[in-house]
Amino acid sequence: MIRFRIIKREPLPGWAKIVIPIAAIVVTLILSAIPILLAGGHLWKSYFYLFHGALGTRYNLLETFVKSSPLLLTGLAVAFAFRAKFWNIGAEGQLLAGALTATALGIHLGSIPTVLVLPTIIISGFLAGGIWASIPALLKTKLKVDDVVSTLLLNYVMIHIMGTLLFGPLQQPGSSWPRSSAIIEAAQYPILMVKSRFHMGIIISLVAVFVIWFINKKTTFGYQSRAVGVNVRAAHFGGINTTSVILWTALISGGLAGLAGVGELCALQYRLIMDISPGYGYSGIVIAMLGNLHPVGVLFSSLFFSVIIVGAQTMSRMTGVPTYIAEVIQGMALMVMLIFLLFTEYKIRAVRK
């Protein structure tokens, strides 16, 4: 009889960090064949339209970038927090806080000089997300409240705050729907490429990748948050103000998610609606894990996600496979990645009895 045992393996060399995510994506696509076939799709045709739909034409390619922007920002938000072991599950609520602030300012900022409107909105949206995230950080550092629970629950609080406002003071006059008035033109993100929706927010999110990489790698704060992430007690012993490191981490993390909300509002929707986010904050968690919490990894995993999401539309139109397949593939990608990460530390051995 042969039994299988899971045993610890020796540490893998550095190249594994790059190879493993790529291998995980390849395996995911192979496994995705099963649900595609079950849904009655023609396999090669489906994959062709999946990628063609996301990358094949200029418009689709740019649309993939449009989709990746909020995913990239929430992914960065989660990755930055997780590195310091601040378990921010609340990017969704922080995104909504950003969108809500952008709406309120975007409707009413007509009186200030046009050039100042967008900077004001962007900074305020960042702060709104950051402050919303710093509530659980304060609870964690002062009262030892578990951050997984508090960040998650605050998402629902924010959804209800948004609902209350959209049925109340923010509701478009005369409308019976929970939606706000449109923001003024000066509050809209400029479109950077003609005949597309490629907007300034995409550039902001790419800059954010560099900024987060720079903070992690080059600054004292990046060092401190790394130290807090691996061992709070030793960081405290070394004289690091761990409370302030966690608070700043939360502020930056929530701020990034807030920017995702600002982008969705000011570049795509122009008015606040209840379903402004189809769960970008939660996808951010998966994207951060898939990207191994590294900013460049997050960039690539968010692009992979947006390829799947955008491509699934075309695939569905051309082959009849439902667009829900995109979510199946995303879930599968996370599972495969987690299993692959497990096998970076363990291996299976067959034992003959």
Partner: protein
Amino acid sequence: MGNTDQPVVRMSSITKRFLGVTANQDISFDLYKGEICALLGENGAGKTTLMNILFGYYTSDEGQIFIKGEKADLSSPRDAILRGVGMIHQHFALVPSQTVLENIVVGTDSGKGIFLDLKSARQALIELQERFGLQIDPEARVWTLSVGEQQKVEILKALYREVDILIMDEPTAVLGPAETADLFKTLRSLAKEGRSVVFISHKLNEVMEISDRIVVLRGGRVVAERKATELNTRELANLMVGRDLLEDIEKKELPPGQPVLKIENLNALNDKKLPALRNLDLVVRENEIVGMAGISGNGQKELSEVLFGMRPPVDGLVEISSRPLKFGNPAAAIRSNMGRIPEDRMDTGLLMDLSVEENLILENHSSAEFHSYGLMKSKRIHQFSEDLIARYGIKTAGRDAVTKSLSGGNLQKLMLARELAGKPVLIIASQPTRGLDVGAMAYIHQRILQERERGAGILLISEDLDEIFSLSDRIVVIFEGEIMGEARGTAVSREQIGLWMSGVTA
């Protein structure tokens, strides 16, 4: 089977490599029924690796294992336990919030279906306790027990699983003298019953005292195998380190200078909110090593934590170089120019998952020398860390190597390098050589003496009386959070210190 000379364990030609480093090279090791066999060697000699292979925790790259005459392919500790092999690691595998009994039965099949049968388990446990004199209340929660008592729970756990080959990895590292004597009594009674014990250690005196046979490992190979009666301590030390290294400590006469540490009326609580320090007074001067002896758990940990800024005291005054120390603030302790060597270097002292360099700069990464406007000056940082690695002879693949890849002795060198880099006026060294081998220990002692000559005042908190006697200018003894006695280093007998340690004032 049947032949009494046949070993219960035979490990033949075992080789084990980790990422190209050979931890065990062609080792053959036999263990006989009813014997206590010591596995002696410096840190990194391969003792623990070899026993982890016997316990099924690692699998060897080459070689075979026979247990009780049968070839054994061990792929997990479970396989080993089924064959009667148990191992007690340095870090216990107990659940603190559960009772002794629950800890002992967990993972065994003592039950009816999905229900635990604690009643008969309890009966079996009490019988075991009586047979081996391991008295512990089965209903006590593990977190309330002392380290020595927790070790007894681990031994009971092994016995409950009908282990007759017991491996103990440095069991005395965490024990005081009385607890050690207790443990030795238990081990002898186990051997008398016909069970076999492997005792991993690098403490020569203990090895001589407890074992029947001694196997010495060096650099992953067996260098000697002798009856304990055939050897003396000095020969054993030579075998272990490959050179004559029983320390001869030379200390210059130096008159103590100004006080650098003054503690008055210090009161502090332990983690369970019980008094740990009671009106403690202490002075340490320049050019002076004050050795603080005492059985563990008498307030040493709390005292060092108060001084490190990790534990705010209830009341009292601490002055460093005549300036009051701000309590509960590690950064203030660092600013007072104190070198801090905590006893748990892996949990408190070092960031094991970060690089060697990131550990070296921990305390001064935010000084003007290493950053400007929040940007790290990486060139200077590299220079600083490479300089320290060279000066302290830290054996590492480089400044970027992850700290947990270092051996125990090198971890402590890393601690020292960081803490002494700023030429501290005061050094608090808490158990600085615990768990280190003879070579590393000698190095640390030399460094401490050099710091004394440089002018630093040193508070040496240690449970190792040899260390206290050979280094200290003055010895104080702590008992239940109070200083029981104080004497010049040369003017006091071990007996007197022993009495003070157990709370007897004469």
